[in-house]
């Protein structure tokens, strides 16, 4: 899979928040095989809390995808993106412009505006969006080369609430990398997303809040791999009625 010209092997992207400890975070990332991890920017303390975290991330050797989580306006998101580029020395930005406090659903109008501003300024934007096709088209026109539709509200673990919408995105944007971002709760959700033809899955809470985050990281990696392999193998069509798999011809008359 290529994203903004970079060849990516692992189709599982992992967030770094809410883990029980830095050690568990590191173990989970290693076990997941993820090459891309998401991070945020928050207020630093004079004792350098953020610097310690940054040192740990660098040791993991993953590509950093900073986010604009918590931003509710174009200005906030654009300013945060610039700060992220200055700090992480990467043009990548996971663009979140939140439109609703309860659902954390994106404000897609502000999202498109912010994406255009950032793309024009040399950023490579990963937009957290809905499964709306028109919004997807606008984001591509704005300069995005990847789309990240939600599966369900952030942190809800509900799984894919609208598989048909994701299927439509796959059909409508056959050559655009699609990464399901948010809502994955269980490995089967990740598999389902990949079976629908998504190129990758980005998740955080499902691993961080599992009883065994490291074990769940491994399970998610396997689930993503299985789903992708299933999609590539072209699954059979669903049938409304039963069809015997064992040949009827040659059945003995025993009654």
């Amino acid at each position: 899979m290529k994203i903004y010209g970079h060849e990516i092997t692992s189709r599982l992207l992992l967030g770094t928040a809410q883990y029980p400890s830095p050690a568990v975070l590191g173990a989970a990332i290693r076990e997941s095989g993820s090459e891309i991890i998401t991070v945020s920017l928050r207020r630093e303390t004079a004792d350098g809390t953020g610097a310690g975290f940054w040192d740990q991330l660098r040791d993991l050797g993953c590509r950093i995808l900073p986010n604009t989580a918590g931003c509710h306006s174009v200005q906030e998101a654009v300013t945060t993106a610039h700060m992220a580029r200055d700090l992480f020395d990467t043009p990548w930005i996971k663009l979140e412009v939140i439109g609703h406090c309860d659902t954390l659903q994106p404000d897609v109008f502000a999202l498109v505006e912010a994406a255009r501003t950032l793309a024009d300024d040399g950023f490579q934007v990963f937009p957290y969006t809905t499964d709306d096709l028109v919004v997807g088209e606008k984001l591509l026109e704005a300069g995005c080369e990847v789309l990240m539709p939600w599966g369900a509200p952030i942190g809800s673990g509900q799984g894919l609430r609208n598989p048909d919408g994701l299927r439509a995105m796959r059909a409508h944007f056959p050559d655009v990398p699609l990464i399901v971002d948010a809502g994955i709760g269980r490995p089967s959700d990740a598999t389902q997303a990949m079976e629908l033809g998504m190129d990758a899955v980005l998740l955080n809470t499902a691993v961080a809040k599992a009883g065994d985050p490291t074990g769940m990281a491994k399970a998610m990696a396997l689930a993503v791999e299985a789903g992708r392999a299933g999609f590539a193998a072209d699954p059979m069509e669903r049938r409304d009625m039963a069809v015997p798999s064992t040949p009827v011809l040659g059945l003995a008359a025993l009654s």
Binding site: G50, T79, M83, D86
Partner: protein
């Protein structure tokens, strides 16, 4: 001069963003800055003047999803 840094009031003698970071103990290079809501690049901190009442944000890498 009175300024606000990460939502806390401070009285500083610094006249630039760079000096304020040093004066307030933000010694790590792993920070990004914004003054009154506008991004201040690392290489512009030394010539970005502070004024009374300014609001400085100093951000660092943190866990995120």
């Amino acid at each position: 001069m009175n300024i606000t840094v990460n939502a806390k009031a401070h009285e500083v003698s610094a006249r630039t963003v760079e000096d304020a970071l040093r004066e307030l103990g933000f010694t790590s290079p792993s920070v990004a800055t914004a003054l009154n809501g506008k991004f201040v690049a690392r290489n512009r901190r030394g010539d970005t003047d502070l004024r009374e009442g300014d609001q400085l944000e100093v951000l660092a890498p943190m866990q995120g999803g």
